[in-house]
């Protein structure tokens, strides 16, 4: 019992677990705090003014900020990229500007070896004066800026749609000037050397021989160190499992022999019944996301027409991709929130009055935020909204939704946290803060908390700082905190089913916190190797993100032990195990966690690989295999678990669940192995052999072998959508049609008792 905790239940695990988890997490966030400080103090400067050698003003710092807003508002980060971050169809505009400017300068200097050396020196010399805030471009650089302003005017004001952009995307000369200023600034930080260093602000990224950009010694060194760290980490892991394996993971013996309750015997609380509508919304958003994914893929296979129809007039590539990414977060998060609503009363033993009403409110809020933000993004990309508008424009990749919708989404998740607190209040009051209900609640509370950190990325701020905070959401929130919450949730699901003992589940969660905090928190920095951060971000990011593979390996190995524990119970129960396909989706999560997040992630993680690879097909390969393979499959697993109790046993579409399971997995495997992986490998080869600029060009992407590989994805995508997503939609629809058996609320208090999912048949045998 905790000191002074009154009647609280005592903590079920050793306090060392709690201390270790707290220590590792505090260390991780302490280092992140230091890195945040360094981001602001050692990031590249945005000059107050950029002038030519003759003193003529070229652009201002304000133009750079406004240009970034124009870039984002027009969805260009979902079309191409800057500093390697963004979409994969258009060019990387940093590399694009750098190559074109250097080529123009080379031409201006008359070509030849001397001119090459002169261009290299001009681009590498840092002529920024920190006292005055003025950056001076050489004459060749200034002329290149003027020439590139004309080039981008022609590029973005093109009335045709054969690049995947809407016609006449940006025609305002002022916006073109600002946009070019922004791109010019990114190219400047990519080539000008840091004061006191022999490499640029972006660690010499992108590879561009014309300006002398090649991998730095740090890039090579930290690649080697992180590789060694990985090998040592995995060795240590297996050593630890061998030594202390009996005390780690899902091992241990379940006490009782149990019978699973038939779903027909499980009476649900009002909020639990509302989750039927949540999962229908989840399924429809999933369908929309998959269809939009098909559309973006079609652009890569045939850029000029969608089976004879000019799709880019209405749904240009960047809008389709914006929605595709945005919806992937929406449906997965909505599924997690719904599963939380379903599980909370099981944990508490009852549901408080009006929880159902709150669930309806949350669902309505999510629908409004999803629809409102998607519409706003569409209006922004079609040019109806002013860049940087609070209500209608933001569009950082993955943080696409405009700020007002971003705030509302964070508020919606905070409402959900309040719901969790209402449901669990009594349980929390009588339980140790180190036990499962508190871990479930605190990990849930972190969901709105960490997501809200993304609000620190504002469209007009320096790109380097916005990227730093953006990856707190993209990596830390998605890959660490959602992972932690789902581990707690899945653990509790199986504690409720009676197949895992609470103490064993707790150990797994603490282990999860320790392992993910050790690698995942600081490992977030592997996304910002080349965003203008100082070299310590690269060093720490490389080292700790390599260590992330260790927990992924461990959890994959452990997944089988956990399933094994469950298996014992299935055989001994006299009633059928109701969650065959939920468990199989969890098996798939283990598989894709290892392959998609572990193998495909590590494939692109080393700084030296990332240097040539960032923003190419291998990133897409990792993103699809890990986002859909892990979070998507997990969301579907949670959906099937919940829907099992919402649909009467005799109406449960076992066959559709099976079809969905196989189709989603085969479709995803086909997607990765038929197209994304080989394309990525070929593109990486092209990047190293010919150059990053060439590997990102439309000419290369739409070349013969690439197009063939893109078309080869069609069968897998079709199976994924028709055989995987549609059956899941049908199951979700059945959930809404039946909505489970309602439990009766206490007329005096309004409290509804929560159902039990299993019954203990043989409580204890002391023999």
């Amino acid at each position: 019992m905790l000191p002074g905790a009154g009647t609280r239940r005592r903590v079920l695990v050793s306090r060392r677990w709690i201390q270790a988890a707290a220590l590792v997490a505090v260390f991780g966030f302490f280092v992140m705090g230091l890195l945040a400080f360094r981001t602001y103090t050692a990031g590249p400067p945005v000059p107050r003014l950029v002038v030519s050698e003759s003193g003529q003003e070229l652009f201002t710092g304000r133009d750079v900020a406004e240009g970034q807003k124009v870039f984002l508002a027009n969805g260009l980060m979902q079309y191409g990229s800057v500093l390697g971050h963004g979409g994969y169809l258009g060019p990387d505009f940093t590399a694009d500007y750098l190559r074109r400017a250097a080529t123009a300068a080379l031409r201006a200097h008359g070509g030849g070896d001397r001119a090459r050396e002169q261009v290299r020196q001009e681009f590498r010399a840092n002529r920024y004066d920190p006292r005055t805030g003025v950056l001076t471009y050489t004459r060749a650089q200034a002329d290149a800026f003027t020439a590139l302003t004309r080039h981008y005017r022609g590029y973005f004001a093109d009335p045709r749609t054969d690049k995947g952009l809407r016609p006449n995307a940006i025609t305002d000369p002022r916006q073109i000037h600002q946009l070019t200023a922004f791109l010019s600034w990114t190219a400047w930080i990519a080539s000008a050397e840091r004061p006191g260093a022999g490499y640029s602000y972006t660690n010499n990224w992108p590879a561009e021989p014309l300006v002398g950009n090649a991998p730095t010694a740090d890039i090579v060194l930290w690649s080697v160190v992180s590789l060694v760290a990985l090998l040592v980490g995995i060795g240590a892991l297996f050593g630890a499992v061998g030594r202390w394996g009996g005390h780690l993971g899902w091992r241990g013996r379940q006490a009782e022999t149990i019978d699973f309750r038939s779903p027909d015997r499980v009476a649900l609380t009002p909020a639990q019944r509302v989750t039927a509508y949540f999962f229908l919304v989840v399924a429809l958003l999933f369908l929309a996301q998959a269809l939009l994914g098909g559309a973006t893929e079609h652009y890569r296979a045939d850029l000029t027409s969608f089976f004879g129809f000019d799709l880019a007039e209405l749904l240009p590539f960047n809008l389709a991709r914006t929605w595709h990414l945005q919806l992937s977060l929406f449906w997965v998060v909505a599924a997690f929130l719904a599963a939380g609503i379903f599980l909370a009363p099981l944990m508490a033993g009852h549901e408080p009055r009006a929880q159902g009403t709150l669930a309806w409110t949350l669902l309505a809020a999510l629908v409004v935020v999803a629809a409102g933000s998607l519409i706003a993004e569409g209006l922004s990309i079609h040019g109806f909204v002013r860049p940087g508008n609070f209500w209608g424009s933001q569009q950082f990749e993955w943080l696409d939704l405009p700020r007002v919708w971003q705030i509302l989404l964070a508020a919606g998740m905070a409402l959900w946290a309040v719901m969790m607190w209402r449901a669990l209040r009594a349980t929390l009051a009588r339980d140790s803060r180190g036990n499962l209900p508190w871990l479930f609640f605190l990990s849930g509370l972190a969901i709105p908390g960490v997501y809200a950190v993304g609000l620190l990325a504002r469209p007009g701020d320096t790109f380097t700082t916005t990227d730093f905070w953006r990856f707190w959401v993209v990596h830390l929130w998605v890959e660490d905190f959602l992972e932690l919450f789902t581990t707690a949730m899945v653990a509790y699901m199986f504690v409720q089913l009676g197949v895992v003992r609470e103490r064993v589940a707790l150990v797994v969660i603490y282990l999860d916190v320790i392992l993910y905090s050790a690698g995942g928190v600081i490992g977030t920095m592997h996304h910002v190797y080349f965003s203008g951060e100082p070299v310590e971000h690269l060093a720490l990011g490389a080292f700790f993100s390599a260590m992330e593979v260790v927990p992924l390996t461990f959890l994959t190995v452990e997944a089988w032990s956990f399933v094994q524990l469950g298996a014992r119970q299935h055989m001994e129960s006299r009633t059928p195990f109701p969650h065959r396909w939920a468990v199989m989706f969890l098996v798939a999560v283990g598989f894709w966690n290892f392959l998609g997040a572990g193998v495909f992630g590590f494939l692109i993680n080393l700084p030296i690989v990332s240097y040539y690879e960032i923003g190419t097909g291998l990133t897409a390969n990792h993103a699809h295999a890990s986002m859909m393979g892990v979070y998507g499959m997990l969301a579907v697993a949670l959906g099937l678990f919940t829907l099992r109790y919402l649909i009467p046993a005799d109406r449960w579409p076992e066959r559709w669940a099976k079809v969905s399971f196989w189709s989603l997995n085969i479709g995803l495997a086909w997607m990765c192995f038929a197209t994304l992986l080989p394309l990525g490998l070929l593109q990486l080869h092209e990047s190293v052999a010919s150059g990053y600029f060439e590997a990102r060009s439309l000419g290369y992407l739409t070349g013969d072998p690439n197009t063939l590989l893109e078309w080869l994805r069609l069968p897998g995508d079709a199976l994924f959508i028709a055989g995987g997503v549609l059956p899941f939609c049908r199951i979700a629809w059945l959930g809404v049609r039946h909505r489970g058996r309602p439990a009766a609320a206490d007329p005096a208090t309004g409290v509804t008792p929560a159902p039990r999912l299993s019954d203990i048949r043989e409580p204890v045998d002391t023999a």
Partner: protein, 180 residues
Amino acid sequence: MIFTTEAVLAYGYAAGLLVTAAGLDRMARHVGRRPERHRIRPDHDTRVCPAGRTPRPADREPHLARPSACVACPGGPGCARPGGGEIVRAPRPWPHSEAGRFHRGLALVLVVLAASLTLIEAVRRPAWPDLALAAAMLTAIAVMARWLVRRLRATPAGFPEPGGKATDRDRYASVRKSRP
């Protein structure tokens, strides 16, 4: 080189897919049939360890054999952990059987993909040296596909029916005193 670069890349990738498929099949074997360190003798409800003995379970950790038994055993270091010999019986069929089926199913998908790539490349570049490579590749794919299909058929899902009784009921596993 007598083969075109594209053909070598395409068939090389197809061969890589076959190797990955073989790896998945191996994984399926691993997850579907976990190695058993102690044999169960249902007739006597006892276990026989790899050294041929019948160790008793430790008091605090019923899934471990008593350390004293393993320390004294010449084969102990090879099969026991510091806390004692681990008593792990082969898991019952489901979900390992179906997880194995899942891995074998995906392995077969990769073989189909390898076949598709090989055929497409053969149609695209129908020059004879490349076609010889394609023929060799298709032969390997056919052999692999046949092998995998047979193994997939031999891997039933094995989802348990209610009330199904296991023949090798494990007295150490199913009923034990709970420690909170």
